[in-house]
Amino acid sequence: MRTRADIRNFWLLASLAAAITAVGLGAAYYMAVHGHIVTGMNNEVVWGLPHVFAIFMIVAASGVLNVASVGTVFGQPVYKKRAPLAGLLSIALLTGGLMVLMLDLGRPDRVLIAATHFNFTSVFAWNVFLYSGMVAIVVVYLWTIFERGMDRYTKPVGLAVLVWRFVLTTGTGFIFAFLVARQAYQSALLAPLFIVLSLGWGQAVFLITQSAIFAWNGRVLDDAIRHRMARLLGIFIVAALYLVAVYYLTNLYYAKQVSFVRFILLDGGIYPLLFWGGYVLIGSVLPLLLLFHPKLSCARTTFAASALVVAGAFAFLYVFIVGGQAFPLEIFPGHVVSSSFGDGAIAAYVPRLPELLLGVGGLGAALLLTVVGLRAFNFMPQDDSVSAKS
């Protein structure tokens, strides 16, 4: 039964999430009226902070469904009980990410054109179908779980979700992989890299949400279940580190990419700092320590490790997206070049408040959908061994 405190907390959290979303929408309106001149973006760094937020949410939306796949497709009962929450989080994150992506368009008022005019050689156009299709397929998946008598379809639909999210994250990787002119991208490795990154980021978001829900309801998560999920997060972190290392080594293998890799990993100022300090140390090494050190492992450290993985994800994406554009295009190999249009120069980009607020607004929208969804439906994982807090 819901207590008065429960009801008050729900409205408090929902109002907070709605306020964050509203601020984000306000920022988007401000950007739409004045143009992108009010952001830090320019003709060199054309995708800035909003894309960092949007791509994080879209990639995590795919990764969080891993929890559902392990349960439904691979038949793990502990994960099966978490499939509904994973589905809800996926829809919420995807909506938040797409909201940011759409509102960062130069002409957000033309979003209908994006839904009615398609150029099928564009990976962006494919992604419109992949994103909308994923929402639809996850809704069907949740329906088969909740509707009595439909559970016999849960497994095949769950399999379709598994395949769809792999294709979707491949599509997200391809957005960059197909940019053959850019030294930072143009690698087939980006598709598998994004899939592996999605697994860790999705698992981290799931663990954060699960901890919050259990704390909210005054319940304690079974230690064995927590330990199992934490270990899986650890494996995903290591797998992502491995593929990131392979990606940069592949880039180094081609002689012409050395200067770019040097820029990102050694002498590019903020970018190596964020890569080593943000992604590697804070986002990978520290969480691994928290997750696997026998004396440190507890509910609080699992939560902290998950939060650090998310922080590391933002650092990684900032380096990948902004750093990748800041490095100049090589139009004249073997030459030093200069022009009035930034040729040959490292591009400057300092994010400004409106774009930050838009990105945070997307997170707010995802939070709002999650909170309302949790309230309206039975998404709470029900473990047999869960004990109530005394």
Binding site: N42, R107, S122
Partner: protein
């Protein structure tokens, strides 16, 4: 008893009213239809056939004739299209002069770079709505009506040829409509080319006496540009990407 109106007077009244209504209807129809008829006339006056697929417009830039420090082509382009003459980093630049120095030899050159109007344009491939398109005669353009401002084409272009309009624009030129939140680039002065004229940068370079840019139909064996590219060594920027640009360079 009601006095009866004579029949003839009633008929005359009716026919007057009918006449008035008829004139009014014709007048109204005229007012409504005239602009449309006028538009049909205007449309018929414009060339009825689209871009000619047998033509491939191109440019040959001779970097040995291009002077360092001369920006006449850039100034002419900016004036032609209503672009700012002293651009900020967020302003559009459809053509810019690049100074290059070969690291090994120290040889320096100066040359203009703009949209290379590729036969296989990556901007067209990646555009989600089809706003980036290539005309039958090889000119790559942006349909300003369906560009949503996603900027993916800017990431895809190997030549940094495209600009995003970051703020509201004023004092636009009728032949170069621009709009905040959309992407734009060199149109090869399509409005002038369709009138049989040369692009503004080509005219400016010739007026300065350099003649470093030749414009013409690459598919016409008799054209000056086709003869030059047949007889002298020319190269394409980022030829490794196999995009087959319509802009070629000599001397680099």
């Amino acid at each position: 008893m009601k006095p009866e109106t004579p029949t003839s007077a009633r008929d005359a009244d009716k026919s007057n009213r009918r006449g008035f209504l008829g004139v009014a209807a014709v007048g109204l129809a005229g007012i409504l239809l005239a602009p449309g008829i006028r538009l049909i006339e205007v449309a018929q006056a414009a060339p009825s056939t689209g871009a000619d697929p047998k033509v491939r417009w191109g440019m040959l830039i001779d970097s040995t004739k291009c002077r360092s420090g001369c920006t006449d082509c850039v100034t002419a382009c900016n004036a032609e299209h209503g672009l700012p003459q002293n651009p900020k980093p967020t302003d559009a630049q459809w053509i810019r002069k690049i100074e290059i120095r070969e690291i090994r030899t120290g040889r320096t050159q100066s040359l203009p770079v703009m949209c290379q109007h590729c036969a296989e344009p990556p901007c067209v491939d990646v555009c989600p709505t089809g706003a980036s398109f290539k005309r039958a005669d090889g000119i790559v353009l942006v349909d300003k009506h369906i560009c949503i401002g996603c900027r993916y084409c800017m990431l895809a272009c190997p030549y940094k040829a495209r600009s995003f309009i970051h703020e509201p624009v004023t004092d636009q030129k009728p032949d170069a409509p621009r709009g905040k939140g959309t992407v734009e680039s060199c149109t090869m002065c399509v409005h002038k080319v369709d009138r049989g004229e040369q692009p503004a940068c080509v005219q400016a370079c010739a007026a300065a006496g350099h003649n470093a840019i030749i414009f013409g139909n690459l598919n016409d064996p008799q054209s000056e540009i086709a003869q030059r590219v047949r007889n002298i060594q020319t190269s394409q920027l980022r030829a490794d990407l196999k995009l087959d640009p319509s802009v070629r360079y000599h001397g680099i």
